[in-house]
Amino acid sequence: MKVTIKSWNAIAQWRWDTGKADQDDADEEDVCGICRVAYEGCCPACKMPGDDCPLIWGECSHIFHMHCLLKWIGTGQSKQLCPMDRRPWVTAERKINPSKSS
């Protein structure tokens, strides 16, 4: 028997590459520390997830919805600190080559 694959209609979910090695989506999902909404959801200000409501990575390794963090930084009480660890917020350069897919 010879089998030729002609075409393939598949379904996939997109994920933010948070750098964690997540093989399995059964894992606890990650949520934004500010709005408590999943990364792949969207921040309270947005209606569309994904590229319209991107994430922001901090040097401190914390990750937030970009809109959430900017809003936080915009408030006086934030003192420009990461809301999770109270260290000055420094946005990380995204590595071009993300974590290897398994």
Binding site: G41, G50, I96
Partner: protein
């Protein structure tokens, strides 16, 4: 001849008269005259057999005799004597009545009764003291005479006494069976034909004159009325039953006026000088019969209501008739009871499709709105239907399918011209609503006016919240989107726009995301294909925004995995922050299979495609070997994948759980089409909202179990209150109650006096 009492009475009168006449003095000449007068008068009055004609009397002689008796105040005595004689002669009539009646019993012919009536009239006339005399020739004493008050009343008194006595006699003579015969006779005088409106034969007045003469009209008043009532009933049943596409009430009333009223003048407008007077005399009776018409038509339509509703909108005229009748006859509660009963018997049973129940419910809504715009009737009728639908597992799905125009047979529950309005919130009364009306008096305490026109709101409100609908909508939309092959999502986009109006933007936001995922996936795919052409065309979805999809994965054979990984790499190159997680169970693979004797090009689920790859390496596999090779995959999924290939004639089950590649085709043992399409048509593992809900409820079971373990028995509201501490718990107490009930059926808990405890 006379009884002793009467004789002594006469004696006494005689003595009085004697004194009167002779002014206290003895004398005999006057007495002779009185005696003569007595004889003449008595003979004149004597009731005779019909065979013996009354002799002709000299009017003067009679007059002189009665005058004399009047002057001597003996007239009453003569009268009493006469009445007494009538009693004696009664047997003559009785004999004849007996003969007529036995003839009637034999023949059942109302004409015999008519003859009897005429014969009785003959008797009446024969015995009537004044029957044969012209008024002017009456003895002056019986004539109205202003100068003599006594004599004025006397004529009436004699006639009245006679008439009453005669009537009393014949009533006592007529046997019970006479009323049956009389009823038949009255019926036989009715205008018979229903449809011939043109010529009504002039009614038989003669027989009615006889009825009146004998006092039968008064005596049998209710019997005559019941003849009319029954005639009206027969007519309405004959003419109106099953005739729903035209208004019938007006026709029936026309028939009443043109056919029944001329006849009804006989019993009810006797002696009317003209039509006006007759109309006036009959106004009460006419209104009574009109009420009866309404009642009978109302009863008929009430008994037909279920089928009338099925026939809607063709049957709208019948509903309008019913509305008018109900206006006159207060039988709303009977209508409600009848429809509820019919629904229970014909609609709310396991054999009926949910779709049909919904369709009939919608018709009921529309029909009862015709009859009762405020919706009280609907409220009362709908309640059991709604409760029944609520317990059916596929109700939401049916409604939602209809909402998105998915119903297979094309008949939608909702008319296209039904106004598109947001779902009404049920509890808020709009005081600015200028069409507001107070609730009707038979509205129950729970009654709330339904905003007219919005069938969908009514259907959605079967459930306490619209969340379930929104979830089901998402599921349905997901399935439909994943099935779109040509990339044209216009129809779905339009659907979502319509649904937004009903359910609100926020509720449909999730659907917007789904739709955008579809279009984004196409754009992404175009980019990926331009970078590195691939056989793979994925739909890339945003999790959290799609209904729960079948998760889990299995190990793809190398060739398929390589295709997937290539695609993932290109995707991440395109969107550096993102990566893909494949739902390998879902989707379909088009493969070409070249076998020794044939080449097949088929669409198969990925599981089956993976198996084909494995069989291309080795042509015999057992189920267990496949599971070992494919990794985390459950047995049912493997069996399903195998079945697809068996149905395509690629594989064959050699022995239980052992499969073999068919390089050379074998005769198909069974019709492969049916089972294969069953396997393929099943939409890719999307859970329905109700399945999801049940799934989530099982999570809360752990809390309930812990609670009942620690606290023993608890009432439902306590359980509900404590569950509110469980993360994510958002059920209401009814939903909890249903769940506990289900748990009880499964033997997990027991309930007693409203307390729930674990079944241990």
């Amino acid at each position: 001849m006379a009884t002793p009492a009467v004789q002594s009475f006469v004696e006494e009168k005689w003595q009085e008269a004697f004194k009167n006449l002779n002014r206290g003095e003895p004398g005999i000449s006057g007495l002779m005259t009185i005696s003569e007068a007595w004889r003449i008068a008595s003979d004149f009055l004597r009731p005779r057999p019909l065979s013996e004609p009354r002799p002709r009397y000299n009017a003067h002689e009679i007059k002189a005799a009665f005058d004399m008796l009047a002057h001597t105040k003996l007239l009453y005595t003569v009268l009493e004597n006469f009445l007494d004689d009538m009693h004696q002669q009664e047997y003559l009539i009785k004999q004849e009545v007996g003969e007529y009646m036995s003839r009637y019993e034999e023949t059942d012919d109302p004409q015999v009764i008519a003859e009897l009536v005429y014969r009785l009239v003959d008797w009446f006339n024969a015995w009537h003291p004044l029957a044969e005399y012209e008024f002017s020739s009456l003895p002056s004493i019986w004539r109205a005479d202003d100068q003599n008050e006594l004599s004025t009343s006397l004529g009436h008194i004699v006639t009245d006494h006679f008439t009453v006595a005669f009537h009393t006699h014949i009533y006592s003579i007529l046997p019970p069976s006479f009323s049956r015969g009389f009823k038949a006779l009255v019926s036989s005088t009715l205008p018979i034909s229903y449809d011939d409106m043109s010529d009504s034969p002039s009614p038989d007045t003669f027989v009615w004159d006889s009825f009146f003469a004998l006092g039968l009209v008064e005596r049998y008043e209710s019997l005559i009325a019941s003849v009319c009532y029954e005639h009206i009933e027969d007519y309405i049943r004959e003419v109106c039953a099953g005739q729903w596409s035209e208004r019938m009430l007006a026709d029936v009333r026309l028939w009443m006026d043109s056919r029944m009223l001329p006849w009804m003048r006989l019993p009810y407008a006797r002696g009317a000088k003209d039509l006006n007077e007759a109309t006036k005399m009959m106004s009460g009776v006419k209104s009574r019969f009109d009420y009866h018409i309404c009642k009978v038509l109302c009863d008929l339509r009430t008994s037909e209501i279920f089928d009338i509703i099925i026939d809607f909108p063709d049957s709208k005229p019948a509903l309008e008739d019913l509305k008018e009748c109900l206006h006159r006859v207060d039988q709303r509660s009977i209508l409600v009871a009848s429809l509820r009963k019919a629904n229970k018997k014909r609609l709310l049973h396991p054999g009926a499709d949910t779709k049909d129940i919904l369709a009939q419910y919608v018709s009921i809504i529309k029909c009862l709105r015709v009859i009762d715009p405020p919706g009280v009737l609907l409220y009362k009728v709908a309640d059991p239907i709604r409760r029944y639908l609520r317990d059916r597992p596929d109700t939401i799905r049916c409604i939602v399918s209809d909402l998105v125009g998915d119903s297979e047979n094309g008949t939608s529950l909702v008319d296209d011209n039904d106004p598109l309005v947001p779902l009404a919130s049920r509890d808020v009364e709009d005081y600015t609503d200028s069409t507001w009306e107070p609730e009707p008096i038979d509205a129950g305490p729970d009654f709330r006016t339904n905003k007219p026109g919005d069938i969908i709101s009514t259907l959605v409100s079967i459930y306490e919240s619209k969340d379930l609908f929104v979830k089901e909508l998402q599921v349905l939309l997901a399935q439909r989107l994943l099935n779109v092959k040509d990339g044209n999502y216009e129809k779905e986009r339009r659907n979502i726009e319509i649904l937004k109006v009903r359910f609100g933007e926020a509720a449909l936001q999730v659907c917007e995301v789904m739709l955008r995922d579809m279009t984004d996936s196409r754009r992404t795919d175009q980019h990926v294909q331009s970078q590195k052409p691939s056989l793979l065309h994925p739909v890339i979805i945003s999790r959290h925004f799609w209904p729960t999809l079948q998760t889990g994965t299995f190990i793809l054979p190398q060739r398929l995995r390589a295709i997937q990984e290539d695609y993932s790499r290109e995707y991440t190159a395109f969107k550096p922050d993102k990566k893909l997680v494949w739902l390998s169970h879902m989707g379909s693979v088009k493969i070409e299979v070249e076998l020794q004797d044939r080449t097949l090009e088929v669409d198969v689920p990925p599981v089956s495609a993976a198996m084909v790859e494995l069989f291309s390496e080795r042509d015999r596999w057992s189920v267990d070997e496949l599971i070992a090779q494919m990794g985390r995959i459950d047995r049912p999924s493997v069996m399903k994948g195998l079945l697809v290939l068996v149905d395509l004639g690629i594989l064959k089950e050699e022995e239980t759980d052992h499969y073999k590649l068919l390089e050379v085709a074998e005769e198909a043992s069974a019709d492969p089409g049916a089972s294969r399409s069953a396997a393929m048509d099943e939409l890719p593992g999307v859970q329905t909202a109700q399945q999801q809900q049940a799934e989530q409820m099982r999570v809360f079971w752990r809390f309930i179990e812990g609670m009942l373990t620690n606290l023993g028995a608890l009432p439902l509201d306590r359980i509900q209150n404590m569950l509110k501490f469980a993360p994510g718990y958002d059920r209401n107490i009814e939903q909890l109650g249903m769940f506990m009930e289900a748990a009880r059926r499964e033997g997990m808990v027991v309930a007693k006096d409203g307390m729930w405890r674990l079944n241990r």
